[in-house]
């Protein structure tokens, strides 16, 4: 069976959408000739030419503005903001213009743009090249936020994001770029945004996560099965819209929810999700908790950074402890 690397999935999704729709353009810093600092976009420049795939100045503010202006005037721009941390610079046009346009224009038009960034910790990049900016944008009506967990999901969600008429913030976890996995299954080549997925079925609890948290939760579920604990894993795929019905349906069967977030609990998506589950599904709940990161910036030193992250072992330990089962053997 053929396998697909995550970074190739990103490249293929872009290539297929550039091929399919002449209004799609792609730009960013070092994305064209160099093919991206994470080597996710090689050869697109050669194939589609400098009018449609181009390198830009280091001007995140202007790039976001240009993408917004291009999107409301007929193009479907995809642009890369190299590290998610730099998305603080791109915020104005995304939050104050792109997210508002559909509503305040009284639906005169849409804003079909996608902004892709590498996110997440574990790469020893330090506090300001390791953040996951999805939640910075989560409280903004009008924006969608997608965060794939595997190569197949990356391809399907990116194609879905490019075809979506709304502005999409697209997160790619750095530690997934080299992951290989099966290509999309038939019917999953394009994934509509806003639908969560049951990544593993189970009976005793529901572990909800997104992005890199999903493979971590799946690895934890393997360990937990050795202890006789059957964990269901829900891959949210998008943080906004948040697919609450799929989570509630899962919790109705398992009666426990653990939300695993690579990011601080305060203001994070996990606390919002668990709150919503309590509000809508309290009668189904025996337990609900969150595994998030400390309320500090992300550390650099390998020992500190590894301890900081909610990795598979930490997830399994947390579940075992919470359920009163001896911790899994290391």
């Amino acid at each position: 069976m053929s396998t697909l690397e995550f970074r190739t999935a990103i490249r293929d999704a872009l290539a297929e959408e550039l091929e399919r729709d002449p209004s799609v353009i792609f730009f960013g810093e070092d994305v064209a000739v160099a093919g991206g600092v994470f080597k996710a976009t090689p050869d697109l420049y050669k194939r589609f030419g400098p009018d449609r795939v181009f390198d830009t100045p280091i001007s995140e503010l202007a790039l976001a503005g240009a993408a917004y202006g291009a999107a409301v005037t007929g193009l479907r721009p995809v642009f890369e903001v190299m590290f998610g941390d730099f998305m603080a610079l791109a915020m104005d046009s995304l939050v104050n213009q792109a997210a508002k346009f559909w509503y305040i224009s009284n639906e005169q038009g849409t804003v079909p743009l996608v902004v892709r960034s590498a996110v997440g910790a574990g790469g020893r990049f330090g506090a300001i090249h390791s953040q996951t900016h999805g939640t910075w944008y989560q409280g903004v009506p009008g924006l969608k936020i997608a965060f794939p967990s595997s190569p197949a999901e990356a391809k399907g969600l990116l194609k879905g994001a490019i075809r979506d008429d709304n502005p999409v913030v697209f997160l790619e976890h750095k530690r997934l770029y080299s992951v290989k996995g099966p290509p999309p299954e038939p019917g999953q080549e394009v994934i509509e945004l806003g639908r969560a997925r049951i990544a593993r079925e189970g009976a005793d609890l529901t572990i909800v996560s997104v992005g890199k948290g999903v493979p971590d939760a799946l690895a934890a579920a393997d360990r937990l099965s050795e202890l006789g604990i059957s964990a269901e894993v829900v891959d949210l795929r998008t943080l906004r819209p948040l697919d609450l019905p799929t989570v509630l349906e899962s919790v109705a069967r398992t009666n426990r929810i653990l939300a695993v977030e690579e990011g601080p609990r305060t203001g994070g998506w996990a606390s919002g999700l668990v709150g919503a589950v309590a509000e809508e599904g309290l009668h189904d709940l025996d337990d609900a908790w969150i595994l998030a990161t400390a309320e500090t910036p992300i550390p650099y030193s390998p020992t500190l950074e590894d301890a900081f992250l909610p990795q598979a072992e930490a997830i399994a330990d947390s579940v075992a402890g919470r359920l009163g089962v001896a911790a899994p053997a290391r």
Binding site: S59, G65, G69, D92, S93, P241
Partner: protein
Amino acid sequence: MARLHSPEQQDATGAFLEAYGRMLLIRQFEAAMHRLFLRGEVHGTTHLYAGQEAVAVGVCMTLEPSDWVAGTYRGHGHALAKGTEPEPLIAEMLGRATGVCGGRAGSMNVIDIEHGLVGCYGIVGGSIAAGLGAAMSAQREGRVAAAFFGDGATNQAYFHEGMNLAAVRSLPLLFVCENNLYAEFTPMAQATAGADIAGRAAAYGMPSAVVDGNDLWAVREAAAEAVGRARAGDGPTLLECRTYRHYGHSKSDPAPYRTKQEVEEWLERDPLRIARARLLEQGLAEQQIAAVEDTISAELDQAVERALAAPYPDPAADAATEFSS
């Protein structure tokens, strides 16, 4: 309202008479907004364009209906100059259901895609960002885009990043700076380094000009040259149009920081007075001009009346959705 046509398309004096009518429409529109604000019909705040009419109208005279414009929060003039109908624009100010944005946008954020107005921007410099993207679209289609902004915006990153990006991509974009000498309440000399704003273009290898922003003919001529360059694929231009706002920055600002003498000097150079005198010089009869003035006044009065009679949006019937599906 009739569309503005470039003078090449019809008798030049006739085009300027039409443009004068559009300037007068903006002036009277803003006077009406001032009155309606004091009556509590215009909500929140509003930023009036009176005094700067020659800039928007002079630039838009050189644009086609399919070209794009991005305006500022002082944007009523930009919208009217590009072709937005007065009645839905007034209704938008009044928060009525018949507003150009259904009452969802308000004074600072008007959008009118049908008439090529990408938007108006409450964040200083936002129009430059939108203009960049509109110019990317325009570049493919032989169209051009114009971004209006004030002198205050030239100290935003949007201005510098936008000038650079437009220059390296050779975008068909007019950077139209309306230098009204004050960044909100702060005089230009205290906030903006260097002798002039046009000079900043040299750093980006971009052509620029200082233009008398109260002279419709001067603005039109400079804009026509810039539009010609943009359409020919020769990239962006920065126009620094020196002008003056007749009201304060916003409705909460009586502008005590301006001297009486300065205000009087600028009122002497009122762009409408200059344009009217020029039309007479060019041989138009007093009655021809008066006829246009009467028509504009009557149209605006009717538009105000109809907008005031329009309903407010009904929250119970509001079918707003977060996303386009």
